[in-house]
């Protein structure tokens, strides 16, 4: 008989938005464990990560993950959706997922009905100019990351984000929940987890941007 061959994607395209925002999250909360949702699509076996929604910088609990998930579904519509998670360990020497992060991966996998894409922040590569600070996997399969821009461009972008001090302005969903919605007496309202400043900076960045 004929053998059914199932082709599995072995690579993953990651956008500058995703790279930049994960980096900002890690730069702002350099001492903490991080977790966020990876937003993207899978079309004809091509995996693309177009954006992220940074969720929290403490141990994730049920409510924040569920709420951030519902918000991501509303924000990104049908063309892009949650396809996995990214995480960063709070221990520079131990980059693997903690039990609670692994449980989150398993829950997202269950929700998606297929293995979640997992982007791991390699803490020791955060300041590297030659290598990307992310590793990707899906289930037991390592995925090769293909950047939508060159590594030197991305490296230059990450430097610019720090030089322009974008990282203190970066907001994850937990920051939003901890902020005040008060708009009286000059109050700015709840912190914006959509990060318009970072999004615009990353989208408009060119190497000549100072």
């Amino acid at each position: 008989g004929r053998r059914l061959v199932i082709s599995m994607a072995s690579s993953l395209t990651v956008s500058r938005q995703a790279c930049g925002k994960i980096f900002l999250h890690a730069a702002k909360y350099f001492e903490s464990q991080l977790i966020g949702y990876v937003i993207g699509s899978e079309v004809n076996g091509q995996l693309t990560v177009s954006d992220v929604l940074s969720v929290c910088h403490t141990n994730p609990a049920g409510p924040i993950l569920e709420l951030a998930g519902d918000v991501a579904d509303t924000m990104f519509g049908q063309s892009s959706r949650i396809v996995g998670i990214y995480y960063a360990s709070d221990n520079v020497n131990n980059e693997g997922p903690s039990p609670v992060v692994q449980r989150t991966i398993d829950n997202v996998t269950q929700h998606l009905g297929k293995d979640a894409i997992v982007l791991k922040v390699c803490n020791k590569l955060l300041s590297s100019k030659e290598k990307l600070f992310l590793e990707a996997s899906r289930g037991k399969t390592q995925l090769k990351i293909v950047l939508s821009d060159s590594i030197s461009f991305v490296s230059s972008l990450l430097d610019a984000l720090l030089i322009q001090k974008i990282q203190p302005l970066y907001v994850d969903f937990e920051d939003h929940m901890n902020s005040s919605a008060d708009t009286t007496d000059g109050g700015k309202g709840a912190a914006d987890f959509r990060n318009p400043i970072a999004t615009n900076f990353i989208a408009n960045y060119t190497v000549s941007t100072k």
Partner: protein, 302 residues
Amino acid sequence: MESISNLIESYDAADGKSSITALKELLKELRRSKLRRPDIVFDNWMRVLNAESGSEVWNLYEQICIAALDNGDSNFANECITILLKKFPNSSRVGRLVGMQNEQCGKYEAALEVYTDLLKKNPANLMVLKRKVCVFKAMGDTKRQIEELNALLTQFPSEAASWLELGEVFLSLSDNAAAAHCFEEAVLLNPVSAAYHSRLAEVYYTLGGFDNFVLARKHYAMSLQNQAAQHNLRALYGVLYATNSAAQATTDAANLSVDAKKSREQELRVNTEMQRWAKEQLAELANPTTNSTLELVSRAVM
């Protein structure tokens, strides 16, 4: 006195042009609130040190040392420690900085030796006991981290911050029942803390089941009693999810006694009221012009 968040906002707005008076106040408030902002300290320490006087100079050296350690600049931290040791040769506070420097260099055994020596002189030195916990956390030794926290809490059972830390360790291990016990202790010690009630509520929610969703709802309500909804989105969203999940969790009611069924019906009535109230609060706050993120969240949850 301005709040630390206002001072940091003013500093960011000044974009490097803050007056020396403003910088002195900001660094002093960072010390007082124990907030670590090595970027602010490192950018401004020289100006502030030149303008500071009296005992504040030594507090500033300590702050600069810790900022240097946070920035990975062990040599600069060493210079600060040398200056402090000259002034305070037998100080356990400076000794703790020596231990922290060892930690920053990854010399965990050396750090533990420093802390053990300091504890021989004063076994009740809480700050040093906490540093030992930090060493085991940095080593990734969760078992020893838990042991040290348990020992610390046996000595200092009213140390709320350590109960919270132990709770977070258990949460990281997905041991939610143990985490709940720890956060319950923290709430007992500080029953007016909105943040403690919210964290405990989150753990009960994660445990799941009707009774735990109701407990989560109650602790979110306590949190909102201590901090109003517009400043406490965490608890407001939490009430919405807890009431919704409790309402959906009624399918396991079949084997309950009559009294238990009555109690459950009462809880469900309270549930419905609280959900209605929370939706009203969120709708009031979710102005698409002034609070567009809340408007987005409102669409997601309603």
